[in-house]
Symmetry: C2
Subunit: 468 residues, 2 copies
């Protein structure tokens, strides 16, 4: 890579990029570049951003194509930047780079009610998508990774998950078509407004979850669904993690399929409520399951809620609270959403492993053991229907604990022992790249590197992420 060119002669790079996108959309001025250097990666973990960068803001796939052709010609690293809501340092430039921001590709292109799909430019946000749906009132998009500032292109690149995967799956299940500028500059459309498509290898699937290492996503077509009219929230408390976990498969086998099944250590909810100046309504027990149910009819909502509570009682639940009014529901969700708040200033790392759902209780037992062994104050919550657990590893008075690397690796290895994965939804990025050999064989990594090379022979896109 010719990083020297960007470092030593940024004015040359700026000039070439201005010729592509116009005077106003390129900068190497650090004061204007600041907000392009970091994403939401935990501050104790994030790598130092390289300041010798040039930010470019193209307005079209054609301009992006020209930028990538230029970068290939000069061998310049390119970091693709979406909404900056990632947590694995994918958008942090760690060497002199062109930062390619998608922010100007921000339009809703077509709300196609007949095909029950929506097409958006990749830089349009989840908030924009939700606004269109809210105006329409009848249709629904299920994936919600938490931050509505996420751009849809980024949500595809990261294969976003979130709380509703237990019922509706992840981003991969809903992406029907992508316009992509390939690393080599060609503009292609992968997929279509199609529910079935078996021609050739499905390159669309590699772009989903490819974390921007194979191409720059410029347009996204998503499938939508009929919105459910009735929803309710139930909070069920248990004395032990294992009892809470064991209720879940039975609920799913019964065909209840909640929109979300969230597990929470009680202490997290109490701390979150305290920070918000309120009280967590559950008192009995030590762990909680929060269920969100949504159905087309009120009868279904009530009968399924009843069945669900019965199943939990058979698994020794000690209390259940039904949030009937919208106000009560909002109260619970606000406290859940703030779960991270009280820990924010002293968090080292938010683990994101998944294990087979039936292995969650054993995994929890292992984490308890590790918590003692490594003298950390790990707390846990998770999307338990997916087997996706977030363990918060705590910092040591605002620093990474001395045994952080060992503890993290112990948690990763524990997940893998159960046939799990190091990252369920947050992604690989720069943070977890070095742990690939824990989960994959040499030949698998070699194949991933081979695929990267097929798409991006000069390795210009998102160097240091995923594979290269």
């Amino acid at each position: 890579m010719n990083t020297d060119l960007i470092k030593n002669s940024p004015e040359k790079v700026v000039e070439n990029l201005k010729a592509i996108v116009g005077e106003d959309w390129v900068t190497s001025d650090l004061s204007k570049m600041q907000r392009y250097l970091y994403d939401e990666t935990e501050s104790l973990l994030r790598p130092e951003a390289c300041k010798d960068c040039v930010v470019v803001k193209p307005a079209s796939p054609e301009e992006i194509s020209k930028i990538l052709k230029y970068a290939n010609k000069e061998l310049l690293p390119v970091v693709v930047r979406g909404g900056g809501t990632g947590v694995v340092a994918g958008a942090i430039p760690t060497q002199p780079s062109i930062i390619l921001s998608i922010e100007r590709l921000n339009k809703v292109v077509e709300f196609d009610e007949k095909n029950i799909m929506i097409t958006m430019e990749a830089g349009a946000t989840l908030a924009q998508l939700l606004e269109v749906l809210s105006k329409n009132g009848k249709l629904f998009f299920p994936v919600h990774p938490g931050d509505e500032g996420a751009q849809v292109g980024g949500m595809v690149a990261a294969n976003a998950g979130g709380t509703r995967a237990v019922k509706h799956g992840i981003m991969r299940n809903h992406v029907k078509a992508l316009e992509v500028v390939l690393a080599t500059g060609e503009i292609v459309t992968l997929g279509g407004k199609l529910l079935k498509n078996n021609m050739g290898y499905d390159l669309l699937q590699l772009m989903i979850g490819g974390e921007g290492t194979l191409g720059v996503i410029t347009k996204v077509t998503l499938r939508l669904y009929a919105a459910s009219k009735y929803n309710g929230t139930l909070l069920v408390s248990f004395n032990s993690q294992r009892e809470a976990c064991d209720a879940v498969p039975e609920i799913l086998q019964e065909g209840i399929t909640p929109l979300a099944i969230e597990y929470m250590d009680r202490v997290i909810c109490e701390e979150s409520a305290k920070q918000l100046g309120t009280k967590w309504p559950a008192v009995k027990g030590s762990v909680d399951l929060m269920f969100i149910l949504d159905y087309a009819s009120e009868e279904d909502l009530y009968s399924n809620s009843e069945k669900l509570v019965e199943i939990c009682e058979r698994h020794n639940s000690v209390d259940s609270i039904i949030a009937e009014t919208e106000k009560e529901q909002r109260h619970l969700l606000e406290i859940r959403s703030n779960a991270y708040g009280p820990y924010k200033n002293n968090i080292a790392d938010i683990m994101d492993v998944a294990v087979p759902p039936s292995s969650v209780p054993d995994f929890f037992d292992d984490v308890k053991r590790l918590t003692k062994e490594y003298d950390n104050k790990i707390v846990s919550l998770g999307h338990i229907g997916d087997g996706n657990i977030h363990n918060f590893i705590m910092g040591d008075n605002g620093k990474l604990p001395a045994n952080y690397e060992e503890l993290k690796e112990a948690i990763y290895k524990t997940a893998i022992k159960y046939g799990g994965t190091i990252t369920a939804e947050h992604g690989t990025g720069k943070l977890r790249k070095k742990h690939m050999p824990l989960q994959f064989s040499k030949r698998e990594i070699e194949i991933m590197e081979g695929i990267k090379k097929v798409f991006d022979p000069n390795g210009i896109l998102n160097q240091g992420d995923m594979v290269d």
Copy 2:
């Protein structure tokens, strides 16, 4: 490729393979090989099978690994054979080859009720899967490509679709883990019993729909779902294709989501019924939609059936028949299942295009025009909720019509004009490989070829299929 070795010295190949799998499981005797030479490809279309082949029937991934290493060493083509139910000549050897049959890997490995998943060896059939579920009574697997002799490995390799995709999607949505012997001989497990997994590139997705060109699938883990307790079948008739088509998006937007929405030219059902010695119950109108609905409660079944009929009436349906008893339902389904029967002896090709669902009426108009222009008697049925239409191109007294290639290409181009695909569910195989440039750019095909080379550097697996 060293096809001469197989052609001229089959005994050497047989000897080497016997050393791997044992005396009883290798043959080059044509009388024993006959049933391994063809699949279900239409007889007028299928390529001539090469008889200079050696059939080998390994019992384990380890044996398959050894066979592939031997094939790589000697540069011998390998054709992977599953249930032989494919229709695009994927399993037909067209040059001297090792035919690697998966039939002995035929066990149900684990029915995992807690994780609501099932693991089967790749050569186990859909019939075996359905038997396990029928004994259990509570769980359900949605994908059904029609022929229960299909092996689950083949269903994954072909990314099988079928009638229930409108509600449940295709194979890709349900495959959670695969054991695969890579083309280069390494045995790997891709994915896991995981509902979310974002570590590295998702190689699992390439194996799904990869048609056996990237590796040999030896074990499959599928997600299962709670079975719906109540189901019903509705037959609704219309005077025109367009009116029938236009009712569908409204039904889906209403959140009714039938298990299946099948479109049928009336003449197909009448011919099928006649062949079965019975009568198609619909008389009014000229086209039919058959809906299968399934719900957890009888109330939902009835209320949704009513809503569905009302929506169809708003779109000028002329009749609706509700099959209430199991006998009535079976009657309809038997006639639908036999749709192909009356045409079998004079069919040239079964098209398998998909277009965006809202473009189906225009696509139908175009096909009517082409039918006249090319003087063929095309009839059509399809999974209309998916935009997946099967047009039967008729033969000319048991031969391919003289203008077959042009007519086929005209239909492909029509589908592509609407943003469609040449093949929705049947796959690319040997039959459609040459049409890849109609749907893909040069760079896309180059990338697919590059991926093939990364997995299978010597190109030993399923030569002539998909890309090579």
